[in-house]
Symmetry: C2
Subunit: 200 residues, 2 copies
């Protein structure tokens, strides 16, 4: 009975699939999201997945790029050259803390946390993307505070990583923001101190 008549849907929306993958990867991390999870969430079969994206890692990269385009901190605005550096850096840290703790499911920074994936290819992609962000901060500091741009950039990078990881383990938005504000205040004091040192 019921001989053949195999049916077929039209092509699925591949950009929508990237958005779905972005949410899953952000929520659970690269390794904890399986192909079966992805194809189920997109309501497609594995061959459609591979025809569209090539591999799980390639889709992860597209998802991170989409995340960066949609959610990355507006470094250009935050770190505007005409702003007082202390204010700019404080604003950056606070904006990060706000974003990392905003959503109850999508915690922390998807790219920062991607750097701790077990899969080597996925980790490398995240590291490359994160490097760009750190470089932008470093370039800004080279302009506004060249005497110890590296140390400040490292301090900011470590603080951002700590904020992201803490957000992932449930630290509340309020507490994240308080830590960010404290760090911003500390940097402001440090800039003041080295300004007056330089002026003496």
């Amino acid at each position: 009975m019921n001989e053949k008549t195999r049916q077929r849907r039209s092509a699925f929306d591949r950009e929508a699939g990237v958005a779905i993958a972005q949410a899953l990867f952000h929520e659970r991390g690269y390794d904890a999201v399986s192909l079966a999870d992805l194809t189920a969430a997109m309501d497609i079969n594995p061959p459609s997945f591979y025809a569209a994206y090539g591999s799980k890692a390639a889709l992860f990269e597209r998802a991170m790029l989409r995340y960066a385009h949609e959610n990355s901190l507006p470094l250009d605005e935050l770190l505007a050259p005409d702003r007082p550096p202390a204010e700019a850096i404080s604003a950056l840290l606070l904006a990060a803390a706000k974003q990392y703790g905003r959503d109850s499911i999508l915690r922390g920074c998807m790219i920062t946390e991607g750097m701790r994936a077990n899969d080597q290819a996925a980790r490398q992609m995240a590291e490359n993307l994160a490097h760009g962000g750190i470089q932008a901060i470093r370039a800004y500091l080279d302009e506004v505070h060249p005497q110890d741009a590296q140390a400040l950039a490292d301090y900011i990078a470590v603080t951002l990583r700590g904020l992201s990881a803490s957000a992932c383990n449930g630290m509340s938005s309020k507490r994240l923001m308080e830590v960010a504000q404290a760090a911003g205040r500390f940097i402001a004091r440090e800039l003041e101190a080295s300004e007056s040192t330089a002026a003496s």
Copy 2:
């Protein structure tokens, strides 16, 4: 031919097995170490593993406890009540940075990084252990700086997490220590500031 004569070795050293597991879990993280990795490193078969440890997660807990016993920061000494708090906290951060970057293979804090495991049971065990450390710092701050012990404890916790994660992604010991020293300096200034505020 060669009928039977199955041989058997004596029991393996279970404590040595915990040490081997500790190194593997610290190096790669809980999820990235397989049963096969563990049994191969210990040179035993899976049934010996389960007879000795019960499960992979249970061994992870024993390995973390061993790590804590062997490597955990001597909070009692670092945070001695008769020490100036600013000095004690700076010493704590610097000691952490030193330890996280000391070994080229065993990077960061095994327990802190365990909190990001994909396996729920392993993550919970790490969170419970980490909570103890944070609580010790919090109790110390309640004694020496009760007016904002929570904010300071959060700042320290976030900084420690950032240092650990950064160590895992290759930040050099030198840079980790510079960040820790900067954070310690910032906290010293903050304590000074709030002391003088309180005195006014």
